[in-house]
């Protein structure tokens, strides 16, 4: 019996060890990837409709996201000037990290509606987790009632330059003809202002949000 019971106990122990190891690996991975930033900090409150929204005000909204993180398909950030969820795997849109992605950031800065045929303005708080219905490519095509394509040479502050993969907002012009772009660039970059040459890049098209109060 003894010889008969040992293999069984060993087998059970091995199974248990493997199971525990697997759970630990999964938990460890989850802890590494799932930062819980969205779960712990963000909300799903209704936005505030507003009839007064300016490019200047949208610059201010954008600046609150500056120095914060990047989250693919995300749209929630605080204003502590630190990426609270750095190093998330870039292929996973469900890591729950801080920041918008490029189009989620644009959507909130442009204060748009989640309803595509609504061109009104809505103040989303930075801790409201919302991405909006548009990808960079959909912005590029001027999809949605508030958005239109626009000649690149005529773009001004808080207009956008969008490609198939990416969208950034013009913050200001540089004397050398390049632009300062405020954008959620990527996981390794976060959200910030950088000098870019998107305007002359044929991959990028001009996009304008309509309806500004000023």
């Amino acid at each position: 019996m003894t010889t008969g019971r040992h293999p069984l106990r060993l087998s059970r122990m091995l199974t248990l060890i493997v199971a525990v190891a697997a759970v630990l690996i999964i938990v460890q991975s989850a802890r590494a990837f799932h930062t819980q930033f969205v779960a712990l900090n963000c909300n799903t409150n209704n936005p505030q409709p507003t009839t007064f929204f300016t490019r200047h005000g949208s610059s201010a909204v954008a600046l609150h996201a500056r120095y914060e993180g990047y989250q693919w398909a995300g749209g929630c950030w605080n204003d502590n000037n630190i990426d609270d969820s750095p190093g998330d795997p870039t292929e996973n849109s469900n890591t729950g990290g801080e920041g918008g992605d490029c189009s989620g950031f644009t959507f909130k800065v442009w204060r748009e509606s989640t309803t595509e045929n609504d061109s009104g303005a809505y103040q989303w708080n930075m801790l409201r987790n919302v991405h909006g219905p548009y990808t960079a490519d959909r912005f590029r095509h001027g999809d949605g009632a508030p958005n239109v394509t626009y000649a690149k040479s005529g773009l001004i502050a808080m207009d956008a330059l969008a490609s198939w993969h990416h969208i950034g907002l013009i913050y200001s012009r540089n004397a050398d003809g390049s632009d300062q772009i405020i954008e959620a660039k990527g996981e390794a970059y976060g959200t910030n202002i950088w000098t870019r040459t998107y305007r002359g890049d044929i991959n990028y098209s001009g996009v304008r949000r309509l309806g500004w109060s000023g």
Binding site: V61, S153, A157, D176, K185, G186, G200, G214
Partner: protein, 462 residues
């Protein structure tokens, strides 16, 4: 926010004189100063200003414009601050500054403030110098632009008789073939491949900068693999890989005469300004220090050392001399509108609408200048470098459907040479790192969906 905090200290320092402002900065170099961002008590005052670097009589310049965003902590409203400000201007580069109040331009569609220039300042043959101080009346936060105010003010230079060049409409599709392809590597992860940065969310980014030494050896920054790829002169396809400890994001590169390299990271650590890394020829990091300003992405190595174009000052600042560190205080104090070039001159370049202006300036004033007009929209000035008595300029012409680079060799009487180079910019790079001039050869960094390459264009026939 940080800038506001720094500038509050600076405002006091400025009031006490330029020396005190330098001392204040010496005690609080940019990298440390930015860590104050997390204090969270005061609003961020962020000033965007497009300096009128090069003006002509027909500009009828009458105002200085500042687009100012001010955000209070925790609020996202359209008017969380109560701003006022003063621009300080003077004729030429010396003398006493005059205070001009900044007024909100209610007709503008951003938070634009303007200062009306006195006629004698706006029309001065010697141009003018100026800086601005902006204050939030609610919190008392103050920001000065440029940060050291009178110590290194912005400069506007009047062009009396620039040489005019009219490019007409750009004819897309007429790009000149290169004289030679001097480096090429496929996108991939092999030992001689060049990498694309990770992430499904971005345009492809890779081979973010390059440089060429005087012997024609090409060095490409393969930031995705955290290495340099060095292509020996005459060997275009089998580079030597040199590991370097870089961040792995967009950065600019300059190669020293000793074979060592500088890499300027465009992404900074939280609370810090961009980091310049210095590597020896085998890739060991031998130094690292920060830019003075929060934004910097363009490096140029010249006769006076390494310079970077830093923002929001919009000034070229020294970043390394003799291979050694230049402190943040010295960077700020030596900020200039133009980049130092050979002969104790500065080269100033500006694009305004469909016009580019170029000037060589020395201590006596403008030595040579050009106005280049185009009926096709112009984007960035990729390169402006002296070549003997001439200047080589590379501009990007674009429409909504096309883009190409115009290469111009400017002489005393006008255009000496002009040809187009195909855009070939499939992968994103550091913004102004696509061209380098070495001797009389122009090198360009290009890419296609399959590979990265460096081409050489010989500007003078041998």
């Amino acid at each position: 926010m940080t800038r506001a905090v720094v500038a509050t200290a600076l405002g006091v320092a400025l009031a006490a004189g330029g020396l005190w402002s330098l001392l204040a900065l010496g005690a609080a170099p940019g990298a440390q100063a930015l860590s104050a961002r997390t204090a969270g008590a005061q609003p961020i005052i962020d000033i965007a200003h497009l300096p009128p670097l090069l003006t002509t009589a027909d500009d009828h310049l009458s105002v200085l414009r500042y687009d100012i965003a001010c955000t209070g902590p925790g609020t996202e409203s359209d008017s969380s601050c109560d701003l006022d400000g003063t621009a300080y201007v003077r004729v030429g580069t010396s003398g006493i500054f005059r205070a001009l109040p900044l007024h909100l331009d209610a007709t503008a569609n951003v938070g634009r403030y303007t200062a009306t220039l006195p006629t004698d300042v706006a029309t001065s043959a010697t141009g003018f110098t100026y800086y601005a101080v902006v204050r939030d009346r609610k919190s008392g936060a103050t920001t000065t632009l440029p940060a050291v105010g009178a110590t290194a003010p912005q400069r506007s230079i009047r062009l009396a008789s620039p040489t005019s060049i009219d490019l007409g409409a750009h004819q897309f599709g007429n790009a000149l073939p290169a004289s030679a392809r001097v480096a090429t590597a496929r996108w991939g992860d092999g030992s001689t491949d060049v990498g694309i940065e990770e992430g499904p969310q971005e345009e492809p980014i890779g081979a973010s900068s390059f440089d060429v030494d005087s012997s024609g050896n090409v060095t490409v920054l393969d930031e995705a693999h955290k290495r340099l790829l060095r292509f020996a002169s005459g060997v275009a396809s089998t580079p030597t890989a040199i590991a370097v400890g870089v961040r792995g994001t967009i950065a600019d590169l300059a190669v020293r005469s000793d074979g060592g390299t500088y890499v300027l990271e465009s992404v900074a650590e939280p609370g810090q300004t961009p980091l310049l890394r210095s590597f020896d020829r085998v890739g060991r990091q031998v130094g690292a220090w920060h830019t003075a300003e929060a934004l910097a992405g363009t490096l140029r190595l010249g006769p006076t050392g390494l310079q970077a174009l830093e923002y929001p000052a919009s000034q070229w600042m020294p970043l390394a001399t003799g291979g050694g560190e230049v402190s943040a205080a010295t960077q700020f104090a030596q900020g200039r509108a133009g980049r130092a070039v050979a002969g104790s001159r500065e080269l100033v370049a500006q694009r305004e609408g469909n016009e580019v202006r170029i000037a060589l300036v020395d201590s006596t004033g403008v030595v040579k200048s050009w106005r280049i007009r185009s009926s096709t929209p112009l984007a960035e000035i990729q390169l402006a470098e002296p070549l003997g008595t001439r200047v080589v300029v590379v501009l990007r012409a674009y429409t909504d459907a096309n883009a190409a680079f115009d290469v111009l060799v400017l002489g005393d009487l006008g255009l000496v040479k002009h040809f187009a180079v195909a855009a070939a910019d499939w992968a994103e790079t550091a913004p102004l790192s696509r061209f380098r001039l070495v001797g009389s050869s122009l090198y360009r960094l290009g890419s296609t969906p399959t590979d990265m390459f460096v081409d050489r264009f010989d500007l003078e026939e041998h």
